[in-house]
Structures are given as structure tokens and as C-alpha cells.
């Protein structure tokens, strides 16, 4: 056997792991991002490479600005985010297109067709067009790594930030990836003054606007011959398909013998290559997830093609969706679904948010909500969230409600927002609430971590992505500095104390903040903490159902027939009893305080 070549080593990597390796191999020096499914694991993995500085920023706009600064200082830089994060980062993005770069600058944006873990389904390709930037779109983990390295070359060669579009089925797909060579940057670190390019005064920007037009022409010419825009003429010329990214894989699976123009770059498009390909096939289809992005441009070239009139624009494509759209065949599906009780996601057993939402349900207030695990507070039986739009919106919306309703609205609406979301973009709105003399109550759900995306540390957690100790924002002090006079901190597991504080603050005709502070059960420290589960005294349980109103996954209803009830020594009309699952219960104690019959008691430590 020959000695093992590290470059030949086959790795089984997710798209996000592959992107982290790609950033490392591209000699990225500074990487910043904000967690968001499906992009989160890029930075989590990159933080394990000592050669790269990685950080969680408070939001995507900050992350991109950090990356722009690093690029200006002459090193390769990366910003990562999910599709809705690019909305937040759009402001620096559009002008970074004008300034161009020194060190290569790439923004990885991960779309979520079908909204597996998102509040909307947007197509980030539109940003690339609007910001006049090139965008690459890999199909699988192997391509993700290679395309990221290519993106850095393009960035430095054409003096442009480059967007790389990932999606759920690249980010969270695993495939075979090979290690590659380390690729050096073509620039050297250092600060070089160049105000005409880096200071976007109107006079400078007008000059750069012309430079961008020239760059777009050069990029379009480059796209014509770039190896990753490739034609694969098949045996079948009757069907020709233009596709990029995962859409290519689905179409290839559905039509293995068809002819393909596989695009690695979705802006700008290679017009001549497209015309040549179109002339060689009988019917041209554009297969793409979400918007008719390529289709509209191909149609604008005057080329006849079939796109969204057949290919769905809603939800992610799959091989069978593509096959059915083009041929009308339904494939081999033989069985329809069976109706079953749904299994939606739920807050964990012992989640501190549960106690708060139980109380908000009792208080019957209109809850202006936000993005995080706690959005699950909208689901029954808690049913205590009435609005949720985007990161940080809860506080501004509650203020808007207060201004719309005036005195009539006092005590009727509250905002709920997690610690990380508050830092992301809620804090600005709290400033507005105080400055513009609102009366709304803001509840900060401080569970010490960014939980939904998988326990990433944030500026209040006390540590960095690299695991180093860091400052932890003092929320009460921050709120007081903003001008909130009434700031209260409660333990949300203490149902009655939390209720009393909420009631007082909600009715107050001034801005107030209630911080419900208890760590997420999934933080490493909480996982290690010794716990004592609670146990049900099934003899004492009357089946009143109070504890079930928490919707805790550790509490199960056991139905009883009249005979069974009698056999247990209960009244015949008792329909059942509540049983705590001692393996999943972590002893948060919320149910204990709700039981009026002493049917829940402290069990043994575990």
C-alpha cells in the first residue's frame, strides 16, 4: 500500500462542515455570523480550526460589517447567515458591492425552501441581482467546499463580494468530501487608504457605480467559459434542462438521460452558453426552487422555455415533483397517508419558558411574540402567542399596539423576546418604547443561550464560540440605562411569583421590563446538574387536568374506563389520571405548584 495521502482522505461531511473546511482551505482569517437554521453549523465547525478567527455576532448586519472590515484590512473574510438574516445584512451588502474588497469577501446565505425551520420562504438569488453581485450555487457538500474556494478567487480577481447560496438540502445533507490544497489570498494584510473606493460619499459612489457596471460586464464574460457552468448533452435531446444547485440533482435523478446546462453561477448568467444549449434541445425546461429567477432572464433573452407554468414555485422541489411536473407521471407512489395524531415540536420537559406562557395564557393578554424556541408557546395547550413576524419585532409591535389603542390598550398587550433575539434587534425597539413614552411591558426570556439553533453562546452567555470566557450583558442594568424605570427579574419556574409580577407590570402605565431568568435545560451546565424528578401519586390524582395545561412532555394522561376507575378506588366518573414519566421529568416543579391534591411529590435524585 502507498503511504496515505491526506488529500485523498474521504470525509463524510454535511454541507456546513464542508463549507467550514472550504473556508479553512481558502485561508479565511476572519469569520462572523449569527446562528440561523440551516446555516448555523458552518461557524460552529469553523471555530474548531485554530487558523481561523470565528465569532458569533449579535446580528447578521454586524457579522457582515465585521467581514467587510477584515476584507478592507487585507485578509479573506466570511459572513454566514440564513436567508432572513440577509434581510438584516442587506444594508452593508448593497454598498459593499460599491466598495469592492481587498481580501476576498464571501457571504454564505442558506435558504430554507418548504420552511422547515423558518418564518418565510424567500429566494436569496434576488439579492444577488439587486446588489449586482455574483452568486454561486453548489448542489451538494462536495461542491459547497469547492465553490467556496472558487468564490474567494472570483472575489479577489473581480474586486467584488461574492454570495454563495446554500439551502437546507445542501447544509444538512451529508456526502463524500475530499480534502484539498490550501489556497492563499492574493493580497497582503494591512490598512491602505483608498477613500475613493472605501468612503462612499455620493461623489465617490457615483464613480463606483460605473466601476460596478464594468465589473458586471467582465463577470458576464467570465461566466461564459467558467468550468462550473457546464453542458452535459445526454442521449435525449428532446428534454433540455437548465438547473443550478439541488434542483440539478433532482432533475438529474428524474431524467438521467436528458441534456443539462448545469449552472454553478446564477448571477450573472452566461447568455451565449444558454443560447447555444437552447438551440441543441427540443424543449427547454428551467428547473429551479422558489422564484422564476433564471426563467425570467432566459425569457427576457427571447428564448422559449418552460418554467413555473409547470414547475412549482412553492416549497422545495424533489425528483418526483420535477418528474410529475414535466411528464405528468406520478412515479411509484402507491400508498396515501394515514390519519394520525400529529407530532409537532414541543418545548422540552423542564423548559423555563413553559411557566411564563402558562401565566400569559391565564392573564389573557395579547402576546406580541418573537423568533426562538418560545414561538412554540403559540401552540396548544399554552396558546399564548398572538403575533410573530421576524427577529426583534415583538417590542416594536407591542409599542405600535399601545400607540394605536391609547389608554384603551393599557394592560392588554405584552412583548415576549428571548435573550439572543433581544440583543439581535430587540434592544433598538426598547429604546424607542422608552423614548416615545409607551406603556408596553417587555418580557425578556433569558435562558442564557441561543437555544433553538442548538445552544450557541451569545453576548449574555458569558462565553464565546471558541469557548473562551467573555463579558455577559447585565440585562437589568442595560434596561435601566435605556431609561426603563421598572425592571424586575423572576424565576419562571415559580408560577405564582411570576404571575404576581406580570400582573403588576402589565397594568403599569409606564414602560416596564420583566426578565424571566433560568438556563435552558439543554445547556451543558444544566444537563450536568443533579436532578430530582417528581412522581405522581396516582391514588390522590383526581384527574382534574390542571397539570396537563402546561403541555409538558413528561406528563401523560392515562385514560380509565369506569371499571378501571372503580378498581383503583376512584369515582367511576373519573376519566383518567396524570402520570409523570420519571425518566424525562427533570423536576422543574411547575406542575407541583398547580396540583391542589398533593398528587405530585418529589421523587428520588438521579
Amino acid at each position: 500500500m502507498t503511504p496515505k495521502d491526506p488529500a485523498a482522505e474521504k470525509l463524510w461531511f454535511s454541507g456546513n462542515e464542508a463549507l467550514a473546511l472550504g473556508a479553512f482551505e481558502a485561508s479565511v482569517k476572519v469569520a462572523s455570523g449569527y446562528p440561523g437554521t440551516p446555516s448555523t453549523e458552518i461557524l460552529e465547525n469553523l471555530s474548531t480550526y485554530p487558523a481561523v478567527y470565528s465569532e458569533w455576532a449579535p446580528n447578521e448586519k454586524v457579522a457582515l460589517e465585521v467581514a467587510i472590515g477584515a476584507s478592507f484590512a487585507g485578509v479573506r473574510a466570511l459572513a454566514t447567515m440564513k436567508h432572513v438574516g440577509l434581510n438584516v445584512a442587506a444594508d452593508p451588502l448593497f454598498t459593499a458591492s460599491y466598495t469592492g474588497v481587498r481580501g476576498g469577501l464571501v457571504v454564505v446565505v442558506a435558504d430554507d425552501p418548504s420552511m422547515y425551520s423558518s418564518q418565510n420562504e424567500q429566494d436569496s438569488r434576488n439579492y444577488a441581482y439587486a446588489a449586482k453581485l455574483p452568486m454561486l450555487e453548489p448542489a451538494d457538500p462536495g461542491e459547497a467546499k469547492e465553490f467556496l474556494k472558487l468564490a474567494y478567487r472570483i472575489s479577489e480577481q473581480f474586486d467584488t463580494p461574492v454570495l454563495l447560496r446554500s439551502c437546507t438540502r445542501v447544509a444538512h445533507v451529508k456526502g463524500v468530501v475530499s480534502r484539498g490544497e490550501i489556497q492563499a489570498s492574493s493580497v497582503s494584510p494591512g490598512l491602505i487608504r483608498n477613500p475613493a473606493q472605501m468612503v462612499m460619499l455620493p461623489a465617490h459612489a457615483r464613480g463606483r457605480r460605473i466601476a460596478i457596471a464594468e465589473r458586471q460586464k467582465q463577470m458576464a464574460a467570465f461566466a461564459e467559459t467558467w468550468a462550473e457552468n457546464r453542458v452535459e448533452l445526454g442521449e435525449d435531446r428532446a428534454i433540455g434542462i437548465i438547473a443550478a444547485g439541488t434542483s440539478y440533482l433532482y432533475a438529474k435523478e428524474a431524467f438521467p438521460n436528458a441534456s443539462f446546462l448545469k449552472l454553478g453561477m446564477v448571477t450573472p448568467l452566461p447568455e451565449k452558453l444558454i443560447r447555444d444549449f437552447a438551440s441543441q434541445v427540443e424543449t427547454l425546461y428551467i428547473v429551479e426552487d422558489l422564484d422564476p429567477f433564471i426563467e425570467m432572464r432566459v425569457k427576457a433573452m427571447g428564448i422559449t422555455c418552460i418554467g413555473k407554468e409547470k414547475i412549482p414555485a412553492i416549497g422545495e422541489l424533489t425528483p418526483s415533483v420535477v418528474r410529475k411536473a414535466i411528464t405528468g407521471e406520478t412515479g411509484s407512489a402507491t400508498f396515501g397517508p394515514v390519519e394520525l395524531p400529529p407530532r409537532p415540536p414541543n418545548m422540552c420537559a423542564g423548559c423555563p419558558h413553559r411557566g411564563l406562557f402558562y401565566n400569559l395564557n391565564r392573564l389573557k393578554v395579547f402576546v406580541s411574540g418573537d423568533i426562538g424556541c418560545y414561538t412554540l408557546g403559540a401552540l396548544p395547550p399554552l396558546s399564548a402567542m398572538d403575533a410573530c413576524v421576524c427577529m426583534g419585532a415583538s417590542i416594536g409591535m407591542a409599542h405600535g399596539m399601545a400607540k394605536a389603542l391609547g389608554e384603551e390598550g393599557l394592560g392588554k398587550a405584552v412583548a415576549v423576546i428571548g435573550d439572543s433575539t433581544f440583543i439581535h434587534s430587540g434592544v433598538n425597539s426598547l429604546i424607542n418604547t422608552v423614548y416615545n413614552k409607551s406603556y408596553s411591558t417587555v418580557i425578556i426570556l433569558d435562558n442564557r443561550i441561543t437555544a433553538m439553533t442548538g445552544q450557541q453562546p451569545n453576548p449574555a452567555s458569558g462565553s464565546t464560540i471558541m469557548g473562551e470566557p467573555a463579558n455577559s450583558i447585565d440585562f437589568p442594568e442595560l434596561c435601566r440605562a435605556i431609561g426603563v424605570k421598572h425592571v424586575r427579574t423572576v424565576n419562571p419556574h415559580d408560577i405564582e411569583a411570576t404571575y404576581a409580577v406580570l400582573k403588576e407590570e402589565i397594568e403599569r402605565p409606564e414602560p416596564s421590563v420583566v426578565i424571566t431568568r433560568f438556563p435552558c435545560v439543554l445547556t451543558p451546565a444544566e444537563k450536568k446538574r443533579p436532578k430530582t424528578s417528581f412522581v405522581s401519586d396516582t391514588e390522590k390524582c383526581t384527574g382534574c387536568g390542571m397539570c396537563l395545561r402546561l403541555g409538558c412532555p413528561a406528563i401523560n394522561w392515562v385514560a380509565l374506563s369506569p371499571e378501571e376507575a372503580r378498581a383503583m378506588g376512584k369515582k367511576e366518573k373519573q376519566k383518567g389520571y396524570a402520570l409523570i414519566n420519571e425518566t424525562t421529568c427533570i423536576g422543574c416543579g411547575q406542575c407541583l405548584s398547580l396540583c391542589k391534591f398533593e398528587a405530585i411529590t418529589c421523587g428520588e435524585g438521579k
Binding site: 463524510w12 407512489a333 394520525l340 407530532r343 422540552c348 433553538m452 403541555g551
Partner: protein, 194 residues
């Protein structure tokens, strides 16, 4: 299935489904196949229904998604979840199911009932169902968390990968302190299969 195949893993968030799919993927890769696997993370993982698609082949695998009606083997960690993904199955599919019931919220709060005899939905359509009490295997080997590897042991009977390769993968991929117990769980599962 000697040259290519589609394996579907399903169950409830927190049951160790992703680890089971990882071990299986590594075994197939070690046996010389190409493979792709698709998972869903984030909000869906919070105690909800969780699935992973694993496709393998002697030649390049394109799509990471299994099409409806094309699953060769399903490894279901929970009974009702096996039925939930029925549209992915066909009459030649084999379903290995852990005979465990986990109540979803509507059942846990008494609003709905857990469907009685739900596996009949599969057998009545001619689908081969292999029921396994993986919890009992895990208890027998002395670690309740070994349920997932016990199920992988059952699955191993149906895949073109030899036993040694599986054992190597378990040794290489699991933390040293849990390797022994999981090797036992795998072998007990393998005995229970076929």
C-alpha cells in the same frame, strides 16, 4: 439492494435517530458505496417527528431525498412514526420497527388516543414488518441509551455490509467508554433480526 438502496430512519426527536443513520452511512461507505443523507434540524427537532433519508449506490448518488414509494428499508424508532411515513413505502419495503409507543402532545393531554394496532396499517398492505423490542435489548446489555445501536444491529442483517465492517465502524465512531456496551447492543440486535 446489493447495488443501491434507500433507507429511511424515523422516530421522535431525542431517540438517537441521527446517530443510527450516521453509523449506517459509515458502514456503507466502508463497504465501498457512494452515499448521501438528508436530515432536518432546528425547530423540527424539539420532540417532533424526526426523519433521515439515506441513499447508497455502487455509482454516484444524485438526489439526497428518497422519493415516495421507493424506500427499501425503514428503521422506525417508534410505532406510530412508522405509519406516518407510509407514502414512502411500497409492497416490497421492509419495516423494522421498535415496538415502543411515545405519546404525542394531543395524546399525552388526553385530547386524542394513540391508534390501536397501528402496525396493521402496514401489514394489511402487504408490507413486511419486523417488530423489535429494542428497549429490552438495551436493558439486557445494561444501557438504556443503546436502543439506537440495537436497532442498527437489526438493520445490519438487511444490508450488503459484512459484520466486521459494522463492528469496526462502531469502534471508530463512538466514544471509547460506550463502545463495549454498544457492540453488545449491536450483536443482540443482529441476533434479533431475520
Amino acid at each position: 439492494m446489493n447495488d443501491y438502496g434507500n433507507i429511511h430512519f424515523c422516530g421522535v426527536g431525542g431517540q438517537g435517530i441521527l446517530l443510527a443513520s450516521e453509523l449506517t452511512a459509515h458502514a456503507l461507505l466502508a463497504a465501498g458505496f457512494d452515499a448521501k443523507k438528508s436530515e432536518v434540524h432546528g425547530m423540527a427537532q424539539r420532540g417532533g417527528s424526526v426523519e433521515a433519508h439515506l441513499r447508497f449506490g455502487r455509482n454516484r448518488v444524485y438526489s439526497p431525498l428518497i422519493e415516495p414509494g421507493t424506500v427499501d428499508i425503514m428503521l422506525a424508532f417508534e410505532m406510530m412514526e412508522a405509519v406516518r411515513y407510509l407514502p414512502l413505502l411500497n409492497q416490497q419495503s421492509t419495516v423494522i420497527v421498535n415496538t415502543q409507543k411515545i405519546a404525542p402532545p394531543a395524546v399525552a393531554t388526553g385530547k386524542m388516543t394513540y391508534p390501536d394496532q397501528c402496525l396493521n396499517e402496514l401489514t394489511s398492505r402487504g408490507i413486511a414488518v419486523v417488530g423489535v423490542d429494542a428497549f429490552a435489548i438495551a436493558r439486557k446489555v445494561g444501557n438504556l441509551k443503546a436502543v439506537n445501536v440495537a436497532l442498527v444491529g437489526v438493520l445490519s442483517r438487511y444490508l450488503p455490509v459484512n459484520e466486521e465492517t459494522w463492528l469496526e465502524v462502531i469502534k471508530k465512531r463512538l466514544p471509547a467508554k460506550i463502545v463495549e456496551v454498544n457492540l453488545k447492543a449491536f450483536q443482540e440486535g443482529r441476533k434479533a433480526g431475520k
